[in-house]
């Protein structure tokens, strides 16, 4: 449900607000020029996904420092925009605006809707000064390696589980899994190898589309990427005059990244982090995996024909191939009714595990607070960070050349918030007044409240459509909270510039409108120093 109403172009067009029709990729007038000492933020309308180009005031006024944050979308979503866009055009636009050289390219986390636009086909000849990843990508970091192994095992286990479920005809659960796997791989899961499942195409998950995109970006820059750790020293943005960046997340504590506890840590017998056997797998020595001593165990395939207890299990449960008809109306149910048996979905909750994996990747998002100048305004980009990540921001303070900077201070100066994970549940913490936790309430205090803008990268029409499961992005409760906090100044990929809300100050609204440029391809937001 789209709460934001469409603006009426004739009534609301102020002199500076432009609404260009048609696509003009190489138009010099649409170059991204930041105000002196400030920043220009361009949110590309790439679909249900993130793609941001920020221009910070550079050393010389002619040459701003360009920063690219993510470039990805869920396939099918650009077509659902009122004026559909194409990733190739956006990529060309980026190259044209930056002259083919981006000072810093950042990927917050390895999900399809943040990376799948980064291909050599879209960005031919792109040059990048520095690539920034979260520390979770660092091949030399022990904790990162631990996380990666766990993730890989889970992924392989889930690919197997999905194949099994499809084999058993459990299509609805298999479908849910499909969507989660697509986020992680960047493409459809069918052709990939699991631990056991080897399809004809036999693709290696280590060479999935997501991985290829990450590699592409790495190769665009000379030298190694920078891996950002939270609460390290404040980093200057190469090429920018005064802008700096604070890394708030992801946390170094695995527990805060990985929501699920303890499943996945230890299993029975097997070494893998995936769950135990999905039903229907071939024979294996179940004594290895059962928690009970062998003398108590009756292997399931023999239970129904067992000399002592075969009758019991047949009468009260029934072997898998025993089909029992439903009783007539008004009668007692059969003792071994089919619908009362357990299924693969119950025994090993693949859906929950997949969700946990998805959450963990989201929680490993790089969270960056860009400060325009020392003590100045802050632009907050959280990727898809969820609650565990948010709560870790205030775990430590920053040491800025002797001065201590608290995260609460940074949040209080935030004038732009890139809403986490398309405005979905758990990716924006609302927070209570006076609470010490990082949250929406802690942002934009005092003077900055009048300037605060939120950007939501979501295409609701696509999120809601069937036959894929119905995703409530953005969650209405979160959208309302954002509209309230920002006084209506919320930009969303699939919506036009909103109209002034009832009761808001006209001057404040006009000031906002003057800073925004809208085209079918992007929104531009100017932020003064």
């Amino acid at each position: 449900m789209n709460v934001v109403t469409k603006s009426k172009s004739k009534a609301k067009s102020a002199p500076k607000s432009k609404k260009a029709k048609g696509k003009a990729p190489a138009d010099a007038a649409l170059a991204l020029k930041p105000p002196p000492g400030g920043a220009a933020v361009r949110m590309y309308r790439i679909g249900h996904g993130d793609c941001f180009l920020i221009a910070f005031a550079g050393e010389s006024s002619e040459k701003p420092a360009f920063v690219l944050i993510d470039c990805g979308y869920k396939p099918g979503s650009p077509g659902k925009l009122e004026q559909p866009t194409k990733v190739k055009e956006i990529a060309q636009h980026i190259i044209a605006t930056t002259g083919g050289f981006i000072d810093v390219a950042i990927v917050t986390h390895e999900h399809q809707d943040h990376v799948n636009g980064l291909t050599s086909g879209n960005f031919p000849g792109l040059k990048v000064g520095k690539v920034w990843f979260a520390w979770t990508e660092n091949p030399k970091d022990d904790i990162a390696n631990q996380l990666r192994k766990k993730f890989k095992d889970r992924l392989l286990g889930l690919i197997d589980a999905r194949a099994n479920l499809m084999g058993l005809g459990k299509n609805s659960v298999a479908d849910d899994l499909k969507w989660y796997l697509e986020f992680e791989l960047g493409e459809e899961a069918d052709e990939f190898n699991g631990n056991e499942h080897r399809p004809a195409a036999g693709k290696d998950p280590a060479a999935s589309a997501n991985k290829i995109a990450m590699k592409f970006l790495r190769d665009c820059a000379p030298g190694d990427p920078d891996y950002l750790y939270p609460h390290e020293k404040v980093r200057a943005i190469p090429g920018a005059r005064s802008a700096r960046v604070f890394a708030l997340g992801p946390p170094r504590d695995i527990d805060k990244i990985d929501d699920l506890d303890p499943i996945g840590d230890e299993t029975f017998g097997d070494d893998s982090h995936a769950m135990g056997a999905a039903a229907g797998a071939g024979t294996r020595e179940s004594s290895k995996t059962s928690p009970f001593p062998r003398r108590h165990l009756i292997p399931l395939d023999q239970a129904f024909t067992d000399s002592k207890f075969g009758d019991f299990f047949t009468n009260f449960y029934g072997a898998a191939d025993l089909v029992v008809n439903e009783a007539d109306d008004g009668k007692e149910i059969p003792t071994n009714a089919t619908w009362r048996r357990m299924t693969a979905d119950d025994a090993a909750d693949a859906g929950a595990l997949a969700l946990a994996m998805n959450n963990a990747t989201n929680n490993a998002s790089l969270v960056l607070a860009f400060e325009l100048s020392k003590g100045g305004k802050v632009l907050l980009f959280v990727g898809d960070a969820q609650a565990g990540n948010w709560r870790s921001w205030a775990d430590d303070k920053f040491d800025d050349d002797g001065t201590t900077v608290a995260v609460a201070d940074l949040l209080g100066r935030t004038v732009l918030y890139k809403v986490g994970h398309h405005g979905s549940h758990n990716a924006t913490l609302k927070g209570k007044a006076g609470s010490k936790q990082p949250s929406l309430t802690a942002m934009a205090k005092g003077e900055h409240a009048k300037e605060f803008v939120a950007m939501i990268t979501a295409v609701e029409a696509w999120a809601h459509q069937k036959p894929k499961p119905d995703w409530n992005h953005p969650l209405p409760a979160i959208k309302h909270a954002l509209l309230e906090k920002a006084g209506g100044r919320v930009l969303q990929t699939d919506s036009s510039l909103p109209s002034k809300p009832v009761g808001g100050g006209a001057a404040v609204w006009q000031a906002f409108v003057n800073r925004v440029t809208e085209t079918p391809l992007y929104f531009d937001l100017m932020i003064e120093a």
């Binding site: 303890p262 292997p299 399931l300 207890f309 009260f316 008004g330 149910i333 009714a337 499961p469």
Partner: protein
């Protein structure tokens, strides 16, 4: 009993269980009382499994591809030793424990509700017809899942318990050991309560407001908690160890938390009973503002548990004050060292008695709840009314304690003028008649001839309800009819199916097809069939002229007239009314003699749309209620408690609005859109209502919200 028996049948079976899960026991302190023997009703022909009248334990472990042999509790070797020795490594003990705790919970329910417990029926579609089947036994799978989870599956009519490896970071257990949720008393009692509640109120699964899911959770926690307290011996040891100051509630509150922690369910109860401040456990002060700020089901539920626990503590304190006076000889200060064992014994006994009474009050209140959309406030009214109907004179001030404790936690029912006991009681038949007369007279005074404007009352002539005297007479004759006169022919296919199931009743003085209280010695299957049969008769009576008139006062809509067509109405002018079932229960009457009462649950529904404009259009479209593209079903109705002897309605418990009420419909809409916390970022709005959902699995799992 076909053949004469040589020896008298025992009345109880003694079985040993773990009182605290050994793998999760928080402290060495609890190790001493890890096992306890409980007494459950004796079942003569208990088969291996155990498989009895109410429960069947089937130990199949798909995650290990294994099955475990069923235990035979009637083996002489086991009968002599009160069952198997508590053991983590023998699956047969796990089966024994599940059976024992589940049966204990059922016993508490039957005692409080005054009737045999029935599980919710199995419904299926065969072709175009709906079939309903009787579910005799709740199934328990002690080793169903490899997850840190345990839940009741309404679809399978089964409890599924999980097991998992404890991780290194969990300081409470040795890493690598297996933790079984089926060995936790509180978890078994909790899940069985979900199943029992589902049998009484199947619509309590549907989250139509922020209290519904929270209520299910809180109620199950309350039953588990008080049931745990009521075992002899468990408290005695703890009260002796934790010698404390005069604030005795800290002992019990702390115990409650420890039980919960030891059962692995500490999280919900932890925050509102007490906190450890500087190494000392201190009780949390009730805060009436917390409820408004909390929306997550577990947290909200925890407030309800804290409120009920607070009431229990108040009464317990009052009852033990004299013991402390004696023990401290009036000084209020206990001497150093251990407290006297006699004092310990008496304190434990008081706590046990109080826990038992509190448990009964809480369970009895279930019959006094509105059929859908339970809120904490209406649950309070249910508790007060149920207890009042049982003991009008409350010498120990239990009701006052509940009211006070709920008020301290900010729980209050909507629509009542004050929190005094008499304003909290649900209305009687007389009360609702008077109310309706007054309301219609007031509307007539304001010049309205026919209802059907802003509040969309049914289209009948206002004032035709009559004055109080004539209305009372008419309602009395309506009631007498259903008990004495044969019910009119049932035109509805669904209900005539129900009548057809029953064998014709034996010779009786009363004519056929008359509302008759069911005998309590009936077999459970016969009770089930009878309940449905009576429901069908009741349904046909609702179409009678006198009842159509009376239903106005009962919060039901019978004549649709020009009301929104989104109200389900299979026949042209008459709204559908679902009569869930008609159950007969025994309760203690005023003189202490057993009395019967009948519980009738009536609901109606209306198609709801998220978009208000769409709703308005559909409200005018004929046959709109059949539209399958509706976004949700808004339900309303009432529960009636009927006295078959006096042939009158003892209590009328209505939902806040009728099915035609626009405000309530809007409230539900707003809740679904804005308030309902999704289980995860990818869940759609309607997901909680689907036929294939497992509402309790998400609530209990750790991967969820």
């Amino acid at each position: 009993m076909a053949q004469a028996k040589d020896y008298p049948s025992p009345s109880v079976r003694r079985l040993r269980i773990f009182s605290f899960d050994p793998a999760l026991a928080a402290q060495y302190d609890l190790a001493g009382v890890s096992g306890v023997t409980i007494e459950i009703p004796w079942e003569d022909n208990l088969k291996p499994g155990p498989v009895g009248e109410y429960i069947e334990v089937i130990d199949i472990d798909p995650g290990s591809e294994a099955a475990y042999a069923p235990v035979d509790l009637n083996e002489p070797a086991l009968l002599a030793t009160d069952g198997l020795q508590p053991s983590e490594s023998d699956p047969r003990f796990h089966q024994q424990m599940c059976y024992a705790v589940a049966m204990k919970t059922i016993e508490h329910f039957e005692r409080a509700l005054g009737r045999k417990a029935l599980w919710s029926s199995h419904r299926s579609e065969q072709g175009t017809r709906f079939t309903e089947n009787y579910v005799p036994r709740l199934r328990i799978f002690p080793h169903a899942l490899r997850q840190q989870n345990a839940f009741y599956s309404p679809r399978k009519k089964a409890l599924l318990f999980g097991y998992f490896s404890s991780s290194a970071k969990d300081g409470r257990s040795t890493p690598g050991t297996t933790v079984f949720t089926c060995l936790s008393h509180d978890i078994i009692a909790h899940e069985t309560t979900h199943a029992l509640l589902d049998g009484v109120h199947p619509r309590f699964n549907e989250p139509v407001n922020e209290d519904v899911l929270a209520f299910h959770e809180a109620f199950a926690d309350i039953v588990a908690l008080f049931q745990h307290f009521s075992y002899p011996g468990v408290l005695r040891d703890q009260i002796a160890r934790t010698r404390g100051d005069l604030a005795r509630q800290s002992v019990l509150g702390q115990l409650a938390q420890q039980f919960a922690l030891a059962s692995g369910r500490g999280d919900a109860l932890r925050s509102y009973l007490g906190k450890v401040v500087d190494g000392v456990w201190t009780p949390v002060k009730p805060d009436p503002t917390v409820l408004q700020q909390t929306s997550e089901p577990h947290d909200r539920g925890a407030i309800l548990v804290a409120a009920v626990f607070g009431a229990f503590t108040k009464v317990y304190q009052a009852r033990t004050r004299d013991l402390f006076r004696i023990a401290t000889e009036g000084t209020g200060v206990l001497r150093q060292g251990d407290i006297h064992p006699d004092l310990v014994g008496r304190l434990a006994e008081e706590a046990q008695r109080a826990a038992d009474r509190a448990l009964q009050m809480c369970i009895r209140a279930i019959d006094y709840c509105p059929p859908v959309g339970i809120t904490f406030g209406s649950y309070l009214r249910a508790i007060i009314t149920a207890d009042y109907d049982m003991n009008p004179v409350d010498r120990q001030n239990w009701r006052l304690a509940f009211i006070e404790s709920f008020r301290e936690w900010g729980i209050s029912p909507q629509g009542t003028r004050s929190m005094a006991e008499d304003s909290l009681l649900w209305p009687t038949e007389q009360d609702v008649i008077q109310e309706q007369v007054k309301r219609e007279q007031a509307q007539v005074k304001h010049g309205q001839k026919r209802a059907g404007n802003e509040h969309k009352q049914a289209t009948y002539e206002l004032g035709s309800f009559g004055d109080v005297a004539s209305a009372t007479q008419r309602s009395q004759s309506a009631m007498r009819k259903i008990f004495n006169v044969a019910a009119p022919a049932q035109a509805d296919e669904f209900y005539s199916q129900k009548i057809a199931r029953a064998a014709p009743s034996q010779q009786s003085a009363k004519p056929e097809n008359v509302l008759t209280p069911a005998g309590l010695s009936m077999l459970r299957f016969d009770t089930w069939v009878d309940a449905d049969k009576q429901a069908a008769w009741f349904h046909s009576w609702l179409m009678d002229e006198d009842w159509t008139w009376l239903s106005r006062a009962l919060g039901l809509v019978v004549e649709v007239g020009n009301l929104p067509t989104t109200i389900a109405a299979r026949r042209a002018s008459r709204a559908n009314i679902e009569v869930h079932s008609v159950r007969t229960a025994m309760k203690q009457g005023v003189l202490g003699w057993p009395e019967q009462h009948m519980v009738v649950v009536l609901t109606q529904w209306r198609a709801g749309y998220f978009d208000k404009d769409k709703q308005r259009t559909k409200d005018r479209e004929p046959g709109a209620w059949k539209d399958m593209a509706r976004d949700f079903k808004y339900r309303a109705g009432c529960t009636l408690l009927i006295d078959p002897e006096g042939m009158e309605i003892r209590r009328v418990i209505r939902t806040p609005g009728t099915v035609a009420d626009e405000d309530e419909l809007d409230r539900m809409r707003r809740y679904l859109l804005d308030g309902l916390t999704p289980p995860n970022a990818f869940a759609g709005v309607g997901e909680r209502f689907g036929d294939t959902t497992e509402p309790f699995a998400f609530l209990h799992s750790h991967g969820g919200a």
